[in-house]
Amino acid sequence: MSLETQSPVRAAEEPSGPIRHRRKLPRLAPLALYAAGVAVGALLSALTGFSLALTVFYGAVLGTLAVYAGSRAVEGRRKATDRLVTALVTTAFAVAMVPLVSLVYTVLDKGLARFDGQFFTNSMFRVVGEGGGAYHAILGTLIITALAAAISVPIGLLTSIYLVEYGSGRLKKSITFFVDVMTGIPSIVAGLFAFALFTLIFGNGIRLGVMGAVALSVLMIPVVVRSCEEVLKLVPNELREASYALGVPKWRTVVKVVLPTAIAGLGTGVTLAVARVVGETAPLLVTVGLITGTNLNPFDGRMATLPVFAYYQLTQPGVDAQAFLDRAWTAALLLIIIVMALNIVARLISRFFAPKTGH
């Protein structure tokens, strides 16, 4: 920060050499200026009827301007620009945090009401008012997501191995292109695809858990391919060459050298891909539907899933509307917890499976 430390012997008065002395704002000055800005902002917003958001907004703008002006007067242009950009970056971060914090707070606030044992042990079978739970939907979500992962991971992983280790030329380019296109498919389109596919095979009115798994895997495969591809590319080519030079065939090199080296990243990528689809609603809405009882067989009839459960609790409440709303919020809270848990698992995987350095 301070240039003084670099030139301690130079006289303070008349800087002439290439290393100049600079005056600095007192440490607390920016804080004081911001406080003043907020105070003025409160007054300003009081003119139009006091509001907290407006106060913070005025305060941030006025404070930043004051700090910039003050710094420019005392410290010079470079420092002032530095302070201005720091303020802008910090503001952007704060703005980005607002919806996140607000969302987590709201879901916690409204969801904790029904975050009880009954929610995890009861289904909605013959429940029209209070009570009931999402036992059936939790298990349904777990089963369908696991099935989707079972479909997507082999396909996605093998595709990425092809792209990194074997593919070349036009085929590789077109696969990469179509995987990118698939990444952008709206989830409802994936749902309609699975719906149409199974309707063509099994006739009208078909609803199966496995249909949902197929729809989810359409969304999941490109994510798995891209993340695994990036991870496999990170494996140093020297390791492949070391293996080839030992007379190891290519497929063995991939299976026994490349994949073990990349296992941490692959696990992380797959886990994040699961987290990506676990909360999908639209494709499950059209393919799996919803039931109130517990169905654990994805090959036989409708199943309940958490996102669809939350959707119906919200849109079609029964006689005791508040009970239905509470359950919807709790289902939303549970989904957030699952996604967060998956992210933590991904971090743990990348920590524990990473190649050891031996220290």
């Binding site: 080839y244 007379g247 050298v257 031996g358």
Partner: protein, 259 residues
Amino acid sequence: MAKRIEVSDLNIYYGNFLAVEGVNVAIEPRSITALIGPSGCGKSTFLRSLNRMHEVLPGARVEGKVVMDGQDLYAADTDPVDVRRSIGMVFQRPNPFPTMSIYDNVIAGNRLNSKRMKKAEADEVVEKSLRGANLWAEVKDRLDRPGSGLSGGQQQRLCIARAIAVEPDVLLMDEPCSALDPISTLAIEDLMAELKERFTIVIVTHNMQQAARVSEQTGFFNLNGVGQPGRLIEFNPTEKIFSNPDEKATEDYISGRFG
């Protein structure tokens, strides 16, 4: 079982670019052959073509003949994997497998080829290879620790142990000491002097003193200019190359009048 390699009229390409042109050379068994020359002259490319590692890169190909004890390495029915099993390689940067322990790194060539081995047999191979690479004393108490935890010089000797554990006939070394300090370099040079009793060794080096110290034969590669193919300018006993070379270019290069 050291073997003799004869190279005739070898042209090496990257795609359409001719990188090395018209190499004719005979590499003697149980000796060290050094390849020297300025950067980009194709000596590493030539070395990699000897065990068909060159063609691992997309578009890379070779014309001409490389014959090891009567067997054409580039014949249509020769499996490159078999070639690499009998011609091992040590790279410029130490590259132990990061997921494997020291023990597993040494035995990797056998394990990865899923050769069945009894524990005692594997132990024996590991100890013999590590002793062969002068590393046994330093690591014998921590064979189960990751190979990447060793120092650079130890890692390079680990890679040499890994290469000799599969009992190749020939050992290729691509600037094996360029990332190492002088003490580790000395350890590896001593090791090469021992290994040449059992293997044919070809080493690429930028260090002319190293070539003079360790090798019996020396080949000098050069190229006329950027974009031109590299050529083997002179191949002679090391003593002759460094005292009384046939070619002017060789003399210029080794006396530092060049580049």
